[in-house]
């Protein structure tokens, strides 16, 4: 019983950290796309990004580049978190091609 409780406490903490990370990244996701490219489309039009208006660059280039970075950052951070909380997935050696849920 004690072991299970300890396990679930640890699990809860892992989940909380994961949620915090997701929320943080989704805020950035919103800022670089819907906010910078659409909500601020007009005001940011007057700010140059080299030879393009800043909002235009975010809307047609920058947002996509940020999306890629966000996903890779999340994947890396979660690798570390899995390691730290010792919840890494263990691939079972006995892995046949047939489905498990038949048994």
């Amino acid at each position: 019983m004690n072991v299970r409780q300890e396990l679930s406490e640890k699990q809860k903490e892992y989940w909380k950290k994961n949620l915090r990370l997701i929320i943080g990244l989704l805020v950035i996701w919103f800022l670089v796309s819907l906010f910078a490219g659409i909500i601020m489309a007009k005001p940011f039009s007057n700010i140059p990004f080299f030879n393009l208006p800043l909002s235009f660059w975010f809307a047609q280039q920058g947002s996509i580049i940020f999306f890629v970075i966000l996903i890779f950052y999340y994947a890396r951070k979660m690798d570390q978190l899995d390691e730290q909380y010792d919840v890494k997935e263990v691939i079972l050696a006995n892995k046949s091609g047939t489905e498990e849920d038949d048994s």
Partner: protein, 561 residues
């Protein structure tokens, strides 16, 4: 050798490769058939998702579409990429941990209800079917444009190829062919783009040429001079409200599309699911950051070569006469002054450019060799075939796995299920081919349907299933049904001319949001209804809470039970 000869040779070579891979990856069990044995490496899965994602429309039409929408073209650029962030952070890792075959699998198990399973399966078939209709058509169009064969014949050839590797190899055959198809299509897209960028800006990297040259600014000014919309100015073609709603609807819809979601079941662990989403988006981003640049460069180049030039001189450019014959380019010296001029007024405008020509003519405009022109044809076919095959598998698995096996015949043997799976793919190919040859009148509207319905039905149900432990059967079913019904009715009312043939649209917009963006409202309704209903009905059983706890953690936890 003529262009047709080279094109034909190249297309035949790529087809031979696809067929060989289909034969090489033929499968004998349902796990390989539906989820490629869960052993696809993350990078390969990323390339397969990218090929699956980018259709003939993304490849041929999107750059042109954006070049006509200007700033507002961002709805497609952000809309069709931003959803991958939602997928990677909110759905993919947990669905992989859940580890079954399909989307209805998750919804049926999580909400302990075969009713929910059936609703999800029907939504899957409907979403994929509306989406695939345009793909087979795309195959036919590429064939007819490059090889001068009838569209119907082109569709037949496409059907035969897809049927071969999909029926034989299931998800495994589809995934590995898509990996090859990705490389064919991206090379075919990037080479002409780099060439035109080098020609106009001296920089071969389109994304850099875009930022460090004046071309975009010049195009914007040129368009204003000609009385067209200001290219770099937002909300010239769509209202701010619509740009916001459509972008968000496409993002949420992307994350709810069954044929994309099931790809995350095919990797070996939770970790790979997270990473393959990143690989998928980087592969997609290569095309999606290049497309707006081609749009600007090609349009600038076209306007410059035509405006105020003598019509006879323009006709002497070799590619002009070729595209004029196809009807994609129309030159008409209406005022008889011997020169061509652009205008926003259709009565005096003398140059009509079809949006598809932006991509199709780029290699010729940039004076690339015949080989590259042929490569673009092979790329367009690769894009259409890969998207079609992914959708066919999603439909087939919803019918053969979820409806036949999980609901009607749980006692079916492995062998029977595999046979049914193969037949379902074959049947789906026939149906898709039929729509390709005889497209329903509203084929252009189907994308709005697919994304709107995915956003309003599947995304909220899956999301809540993972992040809200208290969400129960009643909440999910009522949520899906209300979101789905609202979105379906709204799209039908706003597209009544195309669907029912009424004289005017019954409804113009809902709170200023048009049919393409209405999925956002549907999703919000789904969330609210799910929440309210679930809190007033019985909590889900203990083993469901345990299941949710389990999918939130990569490690297998229930061994101690």
């Amino acid at each position: 050798m003529t262009t047709e000869g080279i094109t034909l040779t190249l297309v035949l070579i790529t087809f031979a490769i696809y067929i060989y891979i289909g034969w090489w990856s033929r499968v004998k069990d349902t796990s390989s058939f539906f989820v490629a044995g869960k052993e696809i490496p993350a990078v390969a899965n990323g390339a397969a998702i990218a090929a699956d994602w980018m259709s003939a429309a993304s490849f041929i039409s999107m750059a042109g579409l954006i070049s006509f929408l200007g700033y507002d073209g961002t709805i497609y650029l952000m809309g069709w990429t931003g959803g991958y962030v939602l997928l990677a952070l909110l759905l993919a890792p947990y669905l992989r941990k859940f580890g079954r075959y399909t989307v209805p699998d998750f919804i049926g198990d999580r909400y302990y209800s075969n009713g929910a399973r059936a609703v999800a399966a029907i939504a899957t078939v409907f979403i994929s079917l509306t989406y695939v209709a345009g793909q087979m058509r795309g195959v036919g169009i590429v064939f007819s444009r490059y090889l001068q064969v009838d569209i119907a014949v082109g569709v037949f050839i496409g059907m035969a190829i897809v049927a071969f590797f999909a029926v034989l190899g299931g998800m495994k055959g589809i995934t590995w062919t898509q990996v090859i198809q990705y490389f064919v299509l991206i090379i075919a897209f990037i080479i002409p783009a780099a060439a035109i960028s080098l020609k106009l800006t001296g920089n071969p990297v389109p994304q850099l040429g875009f930022v460090f040259s004046d071309i975009a600014k010049n195009l914007s000014e040129l368009q204003v001079q000609l009385g067209l919309s200001e290219y770099l100015k937002p909300f010239e073609n769509l209202s701010a409200m619509n740009v916001f709603a459509i972008t968000l609807a496409l993002m949420i819809g992307t994350a709810g599309l069954p044929h994309v979601i099931i790809r995350f079941y095919t990797v070996k662990d939770v970790r790979s699911a997270r990473w393959s989403a990143g690989w998928a988006l980087i592969f997609i981003a290569l095309l999606y950051t290049t497309a707006p640049v081609i749009g600007v460069f090609a349009k600038y180049n076209l306007i410059n070569s035509f405006n105020n030039e003598a019509i006879e001189q323009v006709r002497e450019i070799s590619w002009v006469s070729k595209w004029e014959e196809t009807g994609l380019l129309q030159l008409d010296d209406k005022n008889g002054d011997g020169t061509l001029s652009f205008s926003s007024d259709p009565d005096t405008n003398e140059v009509i450019i079809d949006r598809d020509i932006i991509v199709l003519s780029t290699p010729e405009v940039a004076e690339l060799s015949l080989f590259i022109i042929a490569l673009v044809a092979a790329g367009g076919l690769a894009a259409a075939l890969s998207t079609a095959s992914g959708l066919l598998l999603a439909m087939s698995s919803a019918v053969s796995h979820d409806l036949y096996y999980r609901i009607f015949r749980p006692e079916a043997s492995e062998k029977q299920r595999l046979v049914v799976g193969r037949w379902m793919i074959f049947l789906a190919v026939i149906v898709a081919g039929y729509f390709g040859i005889k497209p329903p009148g509203f084929v252009g509207e189907v994308v709005a349907f697919a994304f709107g319905l995915a956003a309003a039905s599947l995304f909220p149900a899956i999301f809540l299933g993972i992040f809200d432990k208290r969400m129960n059967r009643e909440g999910a079913i009522w949520g899906i049904l209300s979101g789905l019904t609202f979105t379906l009715v709204m799209i039908m009312l706003m597209r009544s001319v195309q669907i029912f043939g009424t004289e005017a649209q019954i409804l113009d917009s809902f709170l200023g949001i048009n049919a393409q963006g209405i999925g956002v409202v549907g999703a919000i309704i789904n969330f609210i209804v799910s929440f309210v209903v679930s809190r007033r009905t019985q909590a889900p059983p203990e083993e469901i809470s345990r299941m949710v706890e389990d999918i939130r953690v990569p490690k297998v936890m229930d061994q101690t039970d």
